[in-house]
Symmetry: C2
Subunit: 355 residues, 2 copies
Amino acid sequence: MELKTLNEVEINLVTSSKINQVDFENLTFGNIFTDHMLVCDYKNGAWQMPSIVPYAPFMIDPSAKVFHYGQAIFEGMKAYKDQQDAVWLFRPDENYKRFNKSATRMAMPEVPETVFLGGLKKLLEVDREWVRKGKGNTLYIRPFMIATGHGVIAAPSQEYRFMIILSPAKSYYSGEVKVLIAEHYSRAANGGIGAAKAAGNYSAQFYPTKLANEQGFQQIIWTDDATHTKLEEAGTMNVFFRINDTLLTAPTSERILDGVTRKSVIELAKRENIDVEVRSVLVDELVEAAKNGSLKEIFGAGTAAVINPIVGFSYLGTYYELPKLENAIALEIKEKLTNIQYKLADDTFGWTVKI
Amino acid sequence: MELKTLNEVEINLVTSSKINQVDFENLTFGNIFTDHMLVCDYKNGAWQMPSIVPYAPFMIDPSAKVFHYGQAIFEGMKAYKDQQDAVWLFRPDENYKRFNKSATRMAMPEVPETVFLGGLKKLLEVDREWVRKGKGNTLYIRPFMIATGHGVIAAPSQEYRFMIILSPAKSYYSGEVKVLIAEHYSRAANGGIGAAKAAGNYSAQFYPTKLANEQGFQQIIWTDDATHTKLEEAGTMNVFFRINDTLLTAPTSERILDGVTRKSVIELAKRENIDVEVRSVLVDELVEAAKNGSLKEIFGAGTAAVINPIVGFSYLGTYYELPKLENAIALEIKEKLTNIQYKLADDTFGWTVKI
Ligand SMILES: Cc1ncc(COP(=O)(O)O)c(C=O)c1O
Ligand SMILES: Cc1ncc(COP(=O)(O)O)c(C=O)c1O
């Protein structure tokens, strides 16, 4: 499949690229951006002409609603380069659909496909040198929308800005990941915005995560806020548990982000004849399985982190270490998934889309 | 009591004021700002020199964390002018303390009192003409802090901007306010950020509120997200229920904002020998009281809306209208409270602070 490009776009290119100043071997996630960005404003009830311009700060009013009421959503995607120098996206339609789902939940206007996907294609054409060849190299893509309308009254904005910025990236987490199971703090409410990629969901996790970091845990696995008995997801990853030879993962709900990686893992595992159960996983069940040795693996799944093995978890003050396996499902699935993404294996699912 | 002013501040005044362009009799809440604003940046682990500058848009990076992760908090206060042209604040220390509580919950640095309260005093000295005399006229004060650090990785920012902007205001709501009792959507999670004045809490309510508006209701009274049986608060107001001659209001919790108006109403009511019970109020109890006629009043309490009588509520598709009372407690309390704020009555509580 190939994406349609955006033709109605103003393009203003940089006079000289900063690509030669970038050390692509030593990248910290998300802090270097490419030469260009896409900008498209919404006003008077309509999306205006998008433009591709040099990446740069922009002017905004102090009373812009994004600052006061947090009307802001985003997506996270990646571009991959194959051995023939072609650039590919992974299931971009899923991100596009989810973006507009988030928009609706946050009372923001939907972004047209031509602007989101067509604009992304155009932007990637302009900055294609920034996508590096070789497995593990990616260009992280951050489409986002913010409320730019003025006024300190708590009501939806009348004006918005949609942007896409691009950041060359290698891996997200480095080092071992130990997690804490949430006992008190929560990520999302029933009837809340947990299923939306809304900005406010992330800062809400910073303080509890800081407390976890101080205790030596990199991430928190969130539980349902009402009872703290059901395992939900991590801050930027959905989570899988392997008990004996079955993979378990929570069903998506209005509290859980419907991850693209998660659904791909489920499909891949099924193809590989691995048992997958999508059902509520109880904290008690996890602890029990850790105790009796049937808990083999826990791993996170998300675009940024790809597949992230977890080495142990803590609950109510007790730390449970996971076995070190020779043939972990996490690594098998990661290999299969990234081979599809980098076009090193047949994409029997039709997930990859050429730029 | 009088506030200390901020001496260490750079001041850059406008060359000509825009005050003469403002129609103070016809103000829409929160969309006109005074000539100046206060700005103070946090970087390298420290607050920098604050400055008072002309109100204007400013430059910000597209990857600023506020846009992606919603690290943003605010406060809402008002300045009042008395008959002798002195300018007063109402319990500003409460807003200052709450701001820093919000900061901690959102993993943001605390703002020093000299910057928050001292800076506010200085700013109000500069823009004091914008505070108009006469009951009902106020200058709405919006201190806020946003994460300005760069980078699309979900972790707390290293840089922040604190600002104060000022907006001349009359009333917040105009017309009758009917409310919907939340049956499905929620405002806050247990272990979440509901008690913080975090930006993300507000946009989360826009979509459900829009649905309520479409059904003819101006506001939602939120219920606990786990069971939807307990009445909590409205979008920007705490809520009081009068059953017979007792005022009921929910206790504050990690799901409910600890409102300054709410606590002032409680103290005022006690002084007036009105029975006040701070306890969980059940939806069922409210419906029952509406049916048997013991429900006399519902009103919201908040800085922007002051005391806002509610004329009726809807629950599970049934609309319950409240009686029209001659001597409503809401109006009595509003009168007493605003008389203190405008220095028309003795402030026996010591709530008012002179600028
Ligand atoms: C809260 C949350 N859960 C899960 C994920 C994983 O989703 P995806 O696989 O679509 O990247 C993400 C990241 O996007 C996330 O932010
Ligand atoms: C969610 C919420 N509840 C209640 C209030 C009322 O608080 P206060 O009386 O301090 O203005 C506000 C407004 O500040 C609010 O935003």
